[in-house]
């Protein structure tokens, strides 16, 4: 239960930070954190399929697309990061190496100590008590077939439209 509150807290704090920060890069990273915490919250709501597709679409797609867009358009926006890390500074290098080694050890111990068979939501999803993924699949192919097809057509339209929008200038000129 305490993990749930931690996720809530992290989501809210990183969201607020995203909104109030002036630098686009920091906002991006905080938004990344918010999205991950939201996916965790979906897992707590027993919506594991939604959580996974959220990670895939948002973090793998939308966020990368945003970063690409900013890189392709206005590089000066991304250059506003204050240069704190100086690679030629010996002391900083030692500290950074130590930090990364510590983090690696932390990850390793977590990975070794976690007991997969005792995670509740995983058991719930694997056992017959939950039919959420099965329900989603059946509903998509029966009750929600028309919205599903409409979504695919919308995606095709967006694909063509975006290709047209970003190519139009170069053919005119």
């Amino acid at each position: 239960m305490i993990i749930f509150y931690m996720f809530c807290f992290l989501t809210v704090v990183s969201a607020i930070f995203t909104v109030i920060t002036q630098q686009l890069v920091q906002a991006m990273f905080m938004f990344f954190l918010t999205l991950f915490c939201l996916a965790g919250l979906y897992v707590f709501a027993l919506a594991d399929f939604v959580a996974l597709s959220h990670i895939l679409v948002y973090i793998g797609g939308v966020l990368v697309l945003m970063v690409f867009g900013f890189m392709l358009s206005d590089k000066t926006v991304l250059n506003a990061i204050p240069q704190v890390i100086n690679p030629s500074d010996k002391k900083q290098r030692v500290v950074i190496t130590l930090l990364s080694i510590l983090f690696f050890i932390l990850m390793l111990t977590l990975w070794r100590s976690v007991d997969i068979s005792s995670i509740t939501w995983l058991n719930y999803a694997v056992n017959e008590e939950s039919h959420s993924i099965k329900n989603i699949g059946i509903a998509l192919m029966s009750e929600y077939l028309i919205p599903f097809e409409l979504t695919s057509i919308l995606l095709l339209m967006a694909l063509l439209g975006v290709a047209y929008l970003s190519r139009k200038e170069s053919t005119d000129a």
């Binding site: 969201a15 995203t18 909104v19 686009l24 906002a27 991006m28 938004f31 918010t34 999205l35 939201l38 919250l41 979906y42 709501a45 027993l46 919506a47 399929f49 939604v50 597709s53 959220h54 679409v57 948002y58 797609g61 939308v62 697309l65 945003m66 690409f68 867009g69 900013f70 392709l72 358009s73 206005d74 926006v77 959420s132 329900n135 989603i136 509903a139 998509l140 929600y144 919205p147 979504t151 919308l154 995606l155 967006a158 694909l159 439209g161 975006v162 929008l165 970003s166 139009k168 200038e169």
Partner: protein, 71 residues
Amino acid sequence: MMLIGVEFMTNAGILNFVAFSKYDTDNDGQLMALFIIVMAAVGVAVALAIMINVFKHYKSIDPNKLTNMKN
């Protein structure tokens, strides 16, 4: 930044749908959440294409500098 704000709002909506579908037997909320995720992705793609075009015209994407249509 405005784009991230829009994403926040859609995410809040998705969170509501998912949270309340926990107490629902037939997972309608989760389906709705999936559709909304697709909509948001489409929106971002189109918005970014427009943004790149705006940058080609004005050499900037800062909304405060795009004052062509004012007065």
